[in-house]
């Protein structure tokens, strides 16, 4: 239906305020099919807000957001239908606490896509296998480690066959020894051609996996470049400061 040269995600001149705080300043960016775009920047620079505007968990004041060239509907059934096409993974996993892991993955395809029970289950098991938590399928989220919960959350998002995936600091709430297992699932996804927009502080991951790095500061995109160029030769002073501040740790 859509030509491959239409970006999967496109933001045009997006502005947003929280009260008097100008959190997003004239943001324009696009993510093409199969592309992995990583957003980095200091705390409070608006990365999460940007990520959340893409599926309209946050509204915007002005500008346009398009999914495969179609503007995001403002509300209602049409908005819900658009959200189905964009998977989202949160810092705090947000698995449904009253459901088992398997039920978490099956819930949306069953309720929303009206998949029959058998197909939905088979697909969910395949996805849980793929992210390596199939053996946890009958436990509830609270019985899993953070890394396992986050991988299950990725499986839950994938079960809707999204055209793109948003990740908002998916490893920031994890103990260091679990970060790797989540990043490796994400690396695999990228390798399989998933279109991804990722907010992260994992610079090595960004270096290895990103096609493009976007550096944000104070609500604006300050720099946009390939990871090689960005990490080796940051252009702006703010990017230089940011990179040196994180390499100190």
């Amino acid at each position: 239906m859509t030509e491959s040269n239409v970006p999967v995600i496109e933001l045009r001149h997006v502005d947003k305020h929280f009260g008097t705080l100008h959190v997003l300043k004239d943001i324009s960016l696009s993510v093409n099919r199969g592309e992995v775009v990583v957003i980095i920047g200091p705390s409070g620079s608006g990365k999460s807000t940007l990520c959340r505007t893409v599926n309209r968990l946050e509204t915007i004041d002005s500008g346009e957001i398009l999914i495969e060239g179609v503007p995001i509907p403002p509300e209602g059934k049409k908005l819900a239908a658009m959200r189905r096409q964009i998977g989202m993974v949160f810092q705090s996993f947000n698995l449904f606490a009253h459901m088992t892991i398997l039920e978490n993955v099956v819930a949306a395809p069953r309720s929303i896509l009206k998949q029959n029970k058998k197909d939905a289950r088979a697909e969910a098991l395949r996805l849980l296998e793929r992210v390596g938590v199939a053996d946890q399928k009958d436990k509830v989220p609270a019985q899993l480690s953070g890394g396992q919960q986050q991988r299950a959350a990725i499986a839950r998002a994938l079960a809707m066959h999204p055209k793109a995936m948003l990740f908002d600091e998916p490893t920031s709430a994890l103990d260091p020894e679990m970060i790797g297992e989540v990043l490796s699932v994400m690396t695999e996804l990228a390798g399989e051609g998933m279109t991804m927009l990722i907010v992260t502080h994992e610079m090595n991951f960004a270096r290895r996996v990103a096609d493009r790095v976007i550096f944000m500061d104070g609500g604006a995109i300050v720099e946009e470049n390939t990871p090689e160029e960005f990490f080796a030769h940051p252009q702006s002073q703010r990017a230089k400061d940011f990179l040196s501040s994180i390499s100190e740790h």
């Binding site: 819900a80 096409q85 947000n94 606490a97 929303i112 839950r156 998002a157």
Partner: protein, 219 residues
């Protein structure tokens, strides 16, 4: 009269009264849960005037005394050409009042749901009703088992309003005044009813505790 004499003479009436109280309780609680659920959904729906309407309903029925409501139903409704049987009047009161409390318990049950789960549901593309049905109500119910058990007991006690109207068969409270007008049952006649209320409440409490342990959400 002694307890045994009372039970000899009125045992079967007590049994019938207990079954009547149980029946009223089951119907009232089922109705209260159904209406309470609907009111709760209205109170969180995206349409603001409806939300206010839901809050208004709860404010009214949470604060009206049961006896006052029964008097209104029995004496005022006929002026509106609505002639309900006495039992229906009792049931309207014993459904509507607990339904307001049911909604309050469900609202606080909802507050235990982490906002992130609602965001996740929206991000997955759940519609409002799908989210309510699959995510919100199940968790609200499961977190509210103990307060809802208390409400069930309170609803049973509220069904004693039935004793205020000439309804047949009599309930556990109605039977006491009946016996005391025919015999000198005194406080003993009341004690038997009280014991039966207590016994039922204890059983319900046990049941509620058991259900709570089974469905409690691990966090």
């Amino acid at each position: 009269m002694s307890i045994s004499a009372l039970l000899d003479k009125y045992g079967s009436l007590y049994l019938q009264a207990m079954l009547t109280t149980w029946r009223l309780t089951v119907i009232s609680f089922a109705g209260a849960m159904a209406i309470g659920l609907i009111i709760t959904v209205i109170r969180v729906c995206p349409i603001k005037p409806l939300r206010y309407l839901g809050d208004f309903y709860v404010q009214i029925f949470r604060n009206i005394p049961g006896a006052a409501m029964l008097i209104l139903l029995v004496y005022a409704l006929p002026y509106l050409k609505l002639n309900f049987p006495y039992e229906t009047c009792v049931l309207i009161a014993t459904i509507m009042i607990p339904s307001a409390f049911c909604s309050e318990h469900l609202m606080s049950g909802m507050n235990t749901i982490a906002p992130g789960q609602i965001e996740a549901a929206r991000a997955l593309g759940f519609s409002f009703f799908q989210m309510i049905r699959r995510i919100v109500i199940p968790q609200a119910l499961r977190s509210a088992v103990l307060p809802l058990t208390n409400l069930l007991v309170a609803t049973m006690l509220t069904t004693s309003l039935a004793s205020q109207v000439p309804m047949r068969p009599r309930d556990l409270t109605g039977i006491v005044s009946y016996i005391n007008t025919r015999d000198v049952g005194g406080v003993l006649a009341f004690a038997i009813s009280a014991a039966l209320y207590c016994l039922t409440a204890l059983l319900l409490g046990q049941l509620g505790g058991w259900i709570d342990r089974k469905v409690r959400i691990l966090r």
